[in-house]
Amino acid sequence: MSLAPVTSAIDLAAKPSWRSVKNSIASGLMAAAVLAVATPLVLVLASVIAKGAGVAFHDFPDFFTETVPIVSRRAGPGMGPAILGTLLVTGVATLIAVPLGILGAIYLHEYGARQRFARIVRFMAMVMTGVPSVVMGLFVYVTWTLTFGYSAFGGALALACLMLPVVIGTTEQMLKLVPDHLREASFALGAGKARTILSIVVPAALPGIVSGALLAVARAAGETAPLMFAVGAATAYNGHVFGGANTALSVQIFGNATSSFAAAQDRAWGAALTLLMLTFLVTLVARIVTARVQSKR
């Protein structure tokens, strides 16, 4: 038995109206916004690859190993000292800021919690996050460079000051995610507080902490202003952390970008490509760590 066809007075079909038109316009504008974000990203990346790849990979690996020409209008490689400088400065900054930041966050979340001192530190860390990088650079110039001269370490100090509040912030967030019942379980076995934090809480939060720290490192590696005042602009390799002027990729990009010589501008593009590859690599590792954690949970 089949149903007889019904002729109903109720019509549920969509009807064109000003309301649905408005909805479509709004949706269209949102999609346009996505395009507006993607466009500059694509344009910048395309420029850097188009203009940088030829320079950076010409006679590979010369660009990554040769020293910076002293006469900037001379064509040719390279950025070796700048790569070493960036790695040195960022590496030392990481060694300073990450342990301090993790310990600071441990104080804030595991000990201080809602105490007055913890609230003050949390507030000040937030203030410190907003300090412009140029101010941090001048601060290190005034307190360190004036006395000890240019060095990779001065740059590392400036970057560490920029990274510290970021590491504190992300680590505290990650510690918040560690459920209290794990702490209780450890205490119930007779573990002290330090032991509980070091062998239960921090390991449980570690992937998140590492990923947060790596993102901070990626940002720091691209900083320019704080390094200009503290690191100097050497053209030769300098492997000493404390001794003498050094250089960094970002500083080289800034210096060569303002040059009117084509050869210098070429080197700026090559250095930009190198720096981008470096920061993307660190970010990628951070992403992989994060993805691991999320798939485990």
């Binding site: 001048l138 691209g222 900083e223």
Partner: protein, 292 residues
Amino acid sequence: MARALDLRGRGDGADRAFRGLAVGAATVVLVVLGLIAATMTRRALPVLEHMGPGFFTSTRWSPADEEFGALPFVWGTLYTAAIAIVIAVPVSLGVALFITQLAPQRLKRPLVYLVDLLAVVPSVVFGLWGILVLSPHLGRSFLTAGIILAIMIIPIITSLSREVIETTPQPEKEAAYGLGATRWEMILASVWPHSKGGLVGAVMLGLGRAMGETIAAALVIGSALGQITVDPLAPGNSMPAVIANEWGEADELHKSALIALAVLLFIITIIVNLVASSIVRRSMARTAGRRT
């Protein structure tokens, strides 16, 4: 069976030592901020004594004549940041709404990555692109700097807005849909009232970032001295840009003037950031309170 029961603690010393270490690390934040305030202010004093209140009100900046008026740079900082906000806010909100309300599930994550990728590009790379690719077409001006700054603050405003918008409770959205609202009407009726406080805060944080951004602005703003104009196509200057561009050849008083600019910049960005985060926190606390 009388056995002596000893329940006194052992190894509590290690606990105390570790706590001390953690407190020490936390104190570093206070020490650094204190040092910044103290040392920078001390270094800024010579120019403030030299110029008096004129440092804040004069429009003339001429290192050769030992004349240091900061006003044009304050103006340039505020003006370029304003241009950046005007460009970045609609784009960021659009992207945040697209990701949270419109995008199909499998497109969400790639879009988030796209925005995050933009955040990873170092500012000096944007500056390089701005000076060698963009400014041959647009010139070096407030507008060029504003555009570059906008690109740089879009990721931060977008990701904060996204977080705020995502806290809109499902029942509130369903309430609007249940009355026959279109998606756009639902956004206006449910998402907007729920999120506007947090969105204002997100925009303020972007503003703080735009004002402190140095290198990109230094490269494309045009380094004009003493300009106070609303013409977006005129070359200008901002506080961080002038510090970066003039530091290399500055003598003692000139350096003191640049440090004084940095102190001024520090104070302005702190105020903007504090207002921003208190707005964000208040709106977050309100929504959290409502949910329980």
